[in-house]
């Protein structure tokens, strides 16, 4: 049986494609009609084609397990997720505003700390932040920008509005999958691109290159840009290689780089040593330089911090940028936007309870079964409690965790995350919850991807979208419904 949209019901959640059974939203209309025109055999053919394409393109990610690392095929759902261009333009403006404010905030923290002196942010929050790096105080990176690449997670609540869930300012990943998802869809559903005005996304590598090139300490025509990867065993290695290739940059490991006594960075090449200007580093702060941080790190480069502080090499993102990637700081972002930009925030935050405040903590401890509790400094969906899906035992464990370290926990209401039709067993369409991670770049200019990476919780009713925890993904279409 082919797809019958009248049979599809999102069960009261806001659905990205369908407004009510049988009725597609404007940007999804052509897509829905087209899918309904495919018979079951054809649909199955396309699904298999997508699977084969992923294997041929070698799109994979690594999962760490007790039996070792497994290189898994990228989980992809054939049905794209659509957003109207009009709504996207508004969202993109909000994302740019947010990153500009966050960068001003980080720069302030490592210099005069006006934001603390003016009483906007409590001093102890910064002093107790595991991501504040005293080593960075007084450093001014090019353009005063610390977080050059940001992945911000957006969700839609029952009211259809986008809310910011978190800002990832350390080493956000996923952009290569956004690009590959589009490449797969073009191969598997080529007909749709003829009739629909789907905005292209493939300028990202060029924009990333421009952003990085603008950071070069040497004013040369072709600065030497490298992508620093922890190596093949990292879960995002595919992405590191992909971005290096797309930008025409070298993909290097720590052992390929060397810092000399003049604090200049070089890479080892077949011609000898070659000067490096910009490093897009995909390893965490603490592994960057064994002279300064983790002494046992073999992933980093001894002397890298010396070279960076001397202004001889640019690091993107700058060390210490993660101080703003803290779920407690997140709660203050709307105030930071007003403080630094004197503007009203264009994007909303999710209501957040800070467990370090007595009143908030009391509320959280009483409502653990309804809230989502997150540690302030984890990523990848680890260490979370999803109240409504948790046991009494889980809740008791989190109550203890919160009481012993309140600074490290926040809680948010469980959102009625939006859904989109997703192909499940037997080629049936069922609603699955999803989020959206756009990527924002800031160097000399600010840029936002057209859409982003849509991540889907493949398990029925689940709200966990992380690929490390069984999440899938969809191509994301920004559709210009007003274009002729």
């Amino acid at each position: 049986m082919s797809i019958d949209w009248k049979q599809y019901d999102s069960g009261g959640f806001f659905d990205e494609l369908i407004s009510s059974p049988g009725n597609a939203r404007a940007p999804a209309r052509k897509l829905a009609n087209y899918l309904a025109s495919l018979d079951e055999e054809e649909l199955e053919k396309r699904r298999l084609m997508a699977e084969a394409t992923i294997q041929e393109m070698g799109v994979s990610f690594t999962v760490y397990t007790e039996e070792g690392n497994i290189d898994r095929a990228w989980p992809f759902d054939l049905i794209p997720r659509t957003i109207s261009r009009k709504q996207w333009d508004k969202t993109a403006a909000g994302l740019k505003q947010r990153l500009r404010a966050l960068n001003m905030f980080i720069n302030d923290l490592y210099h005069d700390q006006n934001v603390i002196n003016d009483g906007i942010i409590p001093r102890h929050l910064i002093e107790n932040s595991v991501n504040f790096r005293p080593e960075c105080v007084g450093v001014t990176p090019p353009h005063g920008v610390w977080a050059h690449i940001c992945g911000t997670d957006l969700v839609r609540d029952g009211d259809g509005e986008f809310y910011v869930l978190e800002d990832n300012l350390r080493v956000p990943s996923g952009v290569s999958y956004m690009l590959e998802n589009r490449a797969i869809t073009k191969r598997v559903l080529p007909e749709l691109f003829e009739n629909d005005n789907i905005m292209p996304i493939d300028d990202y590598p060029a924009k990333l290159f421009d952003t990085l090139a603008a950071l070069s300490p040497r004013q040369v025509k072709q600065p030497e840009i490298v992508v620093l990867t922890p190596g093949i065993f990292n879960s995002a290695y595919f992405e590191h290689a992909f971005l290096a290739q797309q930008m025409g940059a070298e993909l290097v490991e720590g052992s390929d780089l060397v810092v000399n006594e003049d604090d200049l960075v070089f890479m080892r090449t077949i011609d000898g040593l070659t000067r490096v200007d910009v490093i897009y580093r995909r390893i965490d702060d603490l592994f960057l330089d064994p002279e300064v941080f983790d002494k046992d790190s073999v992933l980093g480069v001894p002397g890298l911090m010396r070279a960076w502080k001397a202004g001889n090499v640019a690091l993107a993102n700058a060390p210490g940028a993660g101080v703003a990637d803290d779920k407690v700081i997140y709660a203050y972002v709307p105030q930071l936007i007003k403080y630094y930009l004197d503007e009203e925030p264009l994007l909303r935050n999710v209501k957040t309870f800070l467990c370090e405040n007595d009143e908030d903590r009391a509320y959280v401890l009483e409502n653990l079964d309804k809230l989502v509790v997150k540690p302030a400094n984890e990523s990848g969906g680890y260490g979370m409690l999803v109240g409504p899906h948790s046991t009494k035992k889980d809740q008791a464990k989190f109550a203890e965790l919160i009481k012993s370290n309140p600074r490290n926990y926040i809680a948010q209401p469980t959102l009625a995350l939006s859904t989109a039709p997703t192909l499940v067993d037997n080629n049936k369409l069922e609603p699955r919850h999803l989020d959206l991670r756009p990527f924002i770049l800031q160097g000399k200019d600010v840029y936002v991807t057209t859409g982003g990476l849509t991540r889907v919780a493949m398990k029925k009713g689940s709200l966990v979208v992380n690929s490390s925890q069984g999440g899938g993904s969809k191509d994301t279409w920004i559709v210009d419904t007003e274009a002729k």
Binding site: E56, M57, G58, A241, L251, D256, I270, G272
Partner: protein, 309 residues
């Protein structure tokens, strides 16, 4: 500009690509012989293991030296680092870590080839599907080589590819000759008068050299001329001396400033191949000497461009 580490991975990717194709070719020499030889001739499948220097490992895994075990060991065995499937996996790993300097399609083709090999490996082990399977592998390798030939800039990456490819190819040509010599040495057959012709004909075919040989040598297939052709022909791309020339010319185009070996020009050891020589143990020793020349060339290349000091 190229990282030393990347140069090394490209070089090995090219070697493994060539090794995959040549392992398939080597098995097909034996496979083809089966069609042509009388049952009385023992063609000694186990020679495949000896030629690839795998005797010790083989006996850790198998007791019986029969066709099935030898073919399984040579094509499919994960525990044999020089099995075709192991080489293909290593090819993929090296390309995966050097993807940023290779055409994107190379990565896709390698993935396709590995999928095909893994899915159809049983066809290669069973005698009835073997020919088609080996052909599929050889065609897959040639597809990748064709893509690289048609799309890669002739920069350092290309020259490292050429180095890896030609070193491995020269190595395998000597092994193919050795395979032929070994069959004749061990056959103990004096009835089949045209046995040498059948064996050397298959050695040529497995190197895709049959037509080129006929056109160049203009003579019937015989051991002496086949050896001369596969070792010394100036124009045939799989002959050892052609490969050595390619190695010399590729190394001459790589940066040499401050390098330990300012010129790398491997030469064929002097040889004197006369009638009947190709079936003698001396010939097999001579082929072994050539492998030493190739090993030295590899060491010089590694110390010039891959050293991680």
């Amino acid at each position: 500009m190229m990282l030393s580490r990347v140069a090394e991975r490209i070089y090995w990717a090219a070697r493994y690509l060539e090794r995959v194709e040549n392992t398939a070719r080597l098995v097909s020499v034996y496979d083809n012989l089966l069609f042509d030889l009388p049952r009385s001739v023992n063609i000694g499948w186990f020679n495949l293991v000896i030629i690839n220097s795998g005797t010790e490992l083989f006996f850790e895994r198998y007791k019986v030296q029969d066709e099935r075990n030898v073919v399984k060991f040579t094509l499919a065995d994960d525990t044999n680092p020089s099995s075709m499937l192991s080489s293909l996996t290593m090819l993929r790993e090296n390309i995966r870590t050097a993807r940023d300097v290779l055409p994107a399609e190379a990565w896709e083709l390698v993935n396709e080839l590995l999928l095909f090999a893994r899915n159809d490996i049983q066809q290669g082990i069973n005698r009835n599907g073997r020919h088609a399977f080996l052909n599929g592998i050889i065609e897959g390798c040639q597809g990748i080589n064709g893509l690289l030939l048609g799309t890669m800039s002739r920069d350092a990456a290309w020259h490292f590819m050429r180095l890896g490819c030609n070193l491995e190819r020269a190595d395998m040509t000597t092994r193919l000759l050795d395979a032929g010599a070994a069959v004749l040495q061990l056959s103990e057959d004096n009835d089949t008068t045209n046995l040498p012709q059948i064996v050397w004909g298959n050695v040529l075919r497995s190197g895709s050299a049959y037509m080129a040989y006929r056109r160049t040598m203009r003579t019937a297939v015989n051991g002496t001329d086949v050896a001369h052709f596969l070792l010394g022909d100036e124009h045939f791309p799989r002959s050892v001396s052609f490969c050595l020339d390619q190695i010399s010319s590729a190394t001459a185009r790589l940066p040499s400033a401050g390098k330990r070996y300012s010129s790398i020009k491997p030469q064929l050891p002097k040889h004197d191949i006369r009638d009947g020589y190709c079936m003698s143990p001396d010939f097999r020793d001579y082929l072994n000497d050539q492998q030493l020349v190739l090993a030295e060339a590899h060491n010089n290349i590694a110390s010039n461009w891959f050293a991680h000091d």
